[in-house]
């Protein structure tokens, strides 16, 4: 359920009341104004573009901002050689100020076109710190080992051009226009201290194309994200750091993977095989062993001949969290950078998983998938980066101030 759901329903009820009064002819003045509007309901509804997400708070935005916005850009910056603590502090102060203004629908400081950021469409800006940032500020020892170096997995085919980075910007919005503007202003203000390492653009189904709360489909046609923790205590426990140094409490960790999909062979693979590879149906996302989307796959079910219905190598059997510490929030986006000159797809998923500790969540789950997962026939991890997500900041503060000092 989207947060605005109840208030929209309430607004609809109030409008209904006004329309009834007009129909009764009891208020001539009211009727005059109401009837002059072609469709009172449409005029009164605020445009979706006006919706904003607060920047300031205990946690950074863009993580438990759900449903995830329709568009995302992940951008990794590298600090220029010689950058130290003062430079990083100035950088984060500038970018936090920009993010706060842009997310509220205001132009960044010194920008003169208020129209471009005016309809942010739930714009969020989220900052992640890579190992190079910790090193630059002289706090290399504070970078968690799992963020400094994720283990290598046997199925990895990682390319440096999609991997690593000192500072991550995750910028999301339901509308690619304010997103594009926000990104160019943020990068402009970062340019004197950083260079751009990589940029990866992703998308989900357009907002409103399916009822609110529907699990998005990926480019393989699967409902992707069914197993995500529900917003509330379950998500909070999976995502936010509770025990740790004070500069990290309220923060998180992000594992970002560029997962290439071999969509040509996938498209030519039979429907039954596609569903068995994951153990969930393509149409509803429900388990092939029965039930609804949010029911679990029954790995022990056998058919009339006593044969297992679900292969032990099916994706969800391998990927399912086996302990609470393995839970994470998958906030992925599809990417499509193709076709190639010879007409082949160049597409897949920008897998973005938030978790309190990647060492107990992403790492063991990915180790299982790299060992055995039918989906490995079609997917390849082509890029990888891990970041510490510092907690949010209060008004007047900046993201990372606990680590850097205000």
């Amino acid at each position: 359920m989207s947060p605005q759901g109840p208030s929209l329903r309430r607004r609809a009820l109030l409008l209904g009341g006004a329309a009834a009064a007009v129909g009764g002819g009891t208020a001539a003045a009211l009727a005059g104004t109401e009837l002059s509007a072609p469709e009172a309901g449409h005029v009164a509804a605020p445009p979706a573009g006006a919706q904003t997400v607060p920047f300031h708070g205990a946690h950074q935005p863009g993580i438990d901002t759900l449903p995830a916005q329709a568009h995302a850009v992940f951008l990794a910056l590298d600090l220029r050689p010689g950058s130290g603590r003062p430079e990083v502090q100035r950088l984060l102060r500038l970018l936090s100020d920009d993010a706060a203004r842009l997310m509220s629908g205001r132009p960044p400081l010194a920008a003169e076109v208020p129209e471009l950021p005016a309809l942010p469409s739930r714009l969020t800006v989220t900052f992640g710190f890579g190992p190079g940032l910790f090193d630059a500020i002289g706090r290399g020892g504070d970078c968690p080992a799992v963020v400094r170096e994720l283990p290598a997995f046997p199925t990895d085919r990682l390319e440096p051009r999609w991997s690593g980075g000192d500072l991550l910007l995750q910028v999301c919005s339901d509308d690619p226009v304010p997103l594009s503007y926000a990104l160019r202003r943020l990068v402009r203000d970062a340019r004197s201290i950083t260079s751009v390492r990589w940029t990866q653009r992703g998308f989900n189904p357009a907002r409103g194309s399916e009822p609110a709360g529907t699990t998005p489909r990926n480019l393989m046609g699967q409902r992707d994200g069914t197993a995500n923790p529900d917003l509330g205590p379950e998500l909070a426990e999976a995502v936010w750091v509770r025990d740790g140094p004070s500069w990290l409490v309220g923060g998180s960790m992000l594992v970002f993977r560029r997962i290439r999909m071999d969509l040509e062979t996938w498209d030519d693979f039979g429907r039954v095989g596609k569903e068995m590879a994951v153990a969930r149906r393509l149409d509803t996302g429900a388990p092939v062993t029965g039930g609804g989307e949010f029911d679990e796959v029954d790995p022990r079910m056998v058919d009339a001949r006593g044969m297992p219905v679900v292969a032990a190598s099916a994706h969800v059997v391998r990927a399912k969290a086996r302990t609470p510490a393995e839970r994470m929030l998958r906030r992925g986006y599809s990417y499509d950078d193709g076709p190639t000159p010879d007409g082949a797809p160049d597409a897949g998923q920008l897998f973005a998983a938030y978790q309190a500790d990647a060492a107990t969540a992403f790492v063991p789950v990915q180790a299982r998938l790299a060992e055995v997962d039918v989906m490995n026939l079609w997917i390849t991890h082509a890029g990888s980066a891990a970041f510490v997500i510092p907690p949010g900041c209060a008004e007047g503060g900046f993201v990372g101030e606990g680590l850097l000092g205000a």
């Binding site: 502090q89 100035r90 950088l91 102060r93 100020d97 400081l109 010194a110 003169e112 201290i193």
Partner: protein
């Protein structure tokens, strides 16, 4: 009201450089003898299309609300 491209304050003969992202303590001394202190975030800009001397960059300052 101070605004980009509108009324603004020029700071000249700086004794130390102001770098983007610096928080600058500014005190305005008014003609009636009162002062207005505020903190401004410094930012690099090419806006305004103004040029007051050869090659000098201009720093735009805003962000604090005069007390």
């Amino acid at each position: 009201v101070l605004a980009p491209g509108g009324d603004h304050i020029m700071i000249m003969d700086l004794t130390a450089p102001i770098r983007p992202g610096d928080q600058v303590e500014v005190t305005l001394a008014l003609s009636d003898g009162s002062t207005i202190p505020f903190t401004a975030l410094a930012k690099e800009t090419t806006g305004g299309e103004e040029n007051y001397d050869e090659g000098a960059g201009e720093m735009h300052m805003s962000g604090g609300q005069p007390g």
